[in-house]
Symmetry: none
Subunit: 226 residues, 2 copies
DNA sequence: CCGTCTATTTATAAGCT
DNA sequence: TAGCTTATAAATAGACG
């Protein structure tokens, strides 16, 4: 479907280097096409591409990809009534995300509640329930890892655990000059984000735990606490 | 810059009909290119186009354009060029809240981790530590409420707790499955409804927990928690 | 309005530097 | 690594049904 010396078969390119090379070329080609389309037809076009190595390239016939995207998000509304301003769109987005945040916090409160606010034994029980459940989960995976022993001793074997947090942080290299070419607005960026909400143990996180909100002197959760 | 019978000059096409025709053809071409790029290079590509008449066409190598866009907007560093306006503040807010959301999610993962992802005993230990710690605190408040008894038995009355998980995560899971390359999700017209983050802790949620039951026979949630 | 056909222009895979 | 060149595959403007 492409062009060049050989007929192209649309399948993932295995060679990392070749893949990167092909990406660079085609990326430019698509940006060019997108730009042409927006000019020829006088329309809004938004494009976002991530290179195999995580570099980002975006294009927006207008100013920013955000704007194009917001129009996209608001599509239903646009169809229903008059156009909605970007500001309103942004507000919607903000509210949406805020709601998600609140939900997360509420949920979190069941695991790490503010003790001061617990007003009844029943409530305390509820919190415990969540925590116990969670512990059971961990116990299971732990058992799986060990082979299936010590499943009923959540604390013991943790005491001696060596403090060897693996990984992470370090995504802010910015080692190069992103040569920004100003056609309409094609931008490239670096750095990949790994925002999986999965559990990753990072030193940053552990360090950030100093403000453990609890009545009796919240300790920094050093792994050896008991 | 295009091709065909005549050399193309990149200038807005005046004839409305011709413009529309050209748009249709090129739109398909770009979608095709975007799809090829995503397959050949195994990367994320998001594309949004509005026809001269306002019709929307979108493409996403993955599932939804929204996802690609979120990956875009959640970038730690913004280099997105473009005009600055009143929306700036809102956007900053959006970014900030998004960041908080991610942090919350990460933190949450320590209490309610994805067991499958735990890769070592150490990690399991860390998670347990957090939970144990939290339980201790609950126990304290409980003791305070009762007067000061059974303070050191965070487990006893919960031991028999049924296995009920307040599993969250609503969007994740995606993982790698390059095999299934369905025709790219190129959508025309519109489509909305963005991710409403999964379950939140609300009375409704609690009620839904069939296995809900505290040692003493938890009543239908009358918690005054919120 | 939509698919087809075809002459030309483009895009670009390989090579080469 | 990054361009530059060239032979070819693709994309597509315009015409037609």
């Amino acid at each position: 479907m492409s062009m060049g010396r050989n007929k192209l078969l649309v399948k993932r390119i295995e060679s990392p280097t070749t893949r990167q090379v092909i990406y660079s070329k085609r990326k430019d080609g698509i940006v060019k096409k997108a730009n042409e389309l927006s000019i020829l037809c006088d329309t809004d076009v938004g494009l976002i591409m991530f290179s195999p190595t995580g570099r980002l390239t975006s294009f927006a016939s207008n100013g920013r990809v955000e704007d194009i995207f917001l129009r996209f998000i608001n599509r239903p509304d646009e169809l229903k009534g008059g156009p909605i301003s970007n500001e309103e769109a942004l507000e919607d987005e903000l509210h949406k995300v805020n709601r998600q945040l609140r939900e997360k916090q509420e949920k979190m409160s069941y695991y790490n509640p503010n003790v001061e606010k617990i007003g009844s034994l029943f409530e305390a029980g509820v919190h415990q329930q969540f925590l116990e459940n969670a512990i059971q989960h961990i116990g299971q995976s732990k058992a799986k890892l060990v082979g299936s022993r010590i499943v009923q001793q959540p604390n013991d074997d943790v005491e001696a655990a060596p403090f060897c947090v693996a990984n992470d942080d370090s995504y802010r290299d910015e080692s190069e000059n992103p040569d920004i070419r100003r056609d309409p607005s094609s931008v490239e960026q670096y750095g990949e984000e790994i925002c999986s909400m999965g559990p990753h143990l990072s030193l940053n996180f552990l360090k950030a735990q100093k403000n453990w909100n609890l009545s009796g002197g919240g300790q920094a959760p050093k792994l050896g606490i008991k």
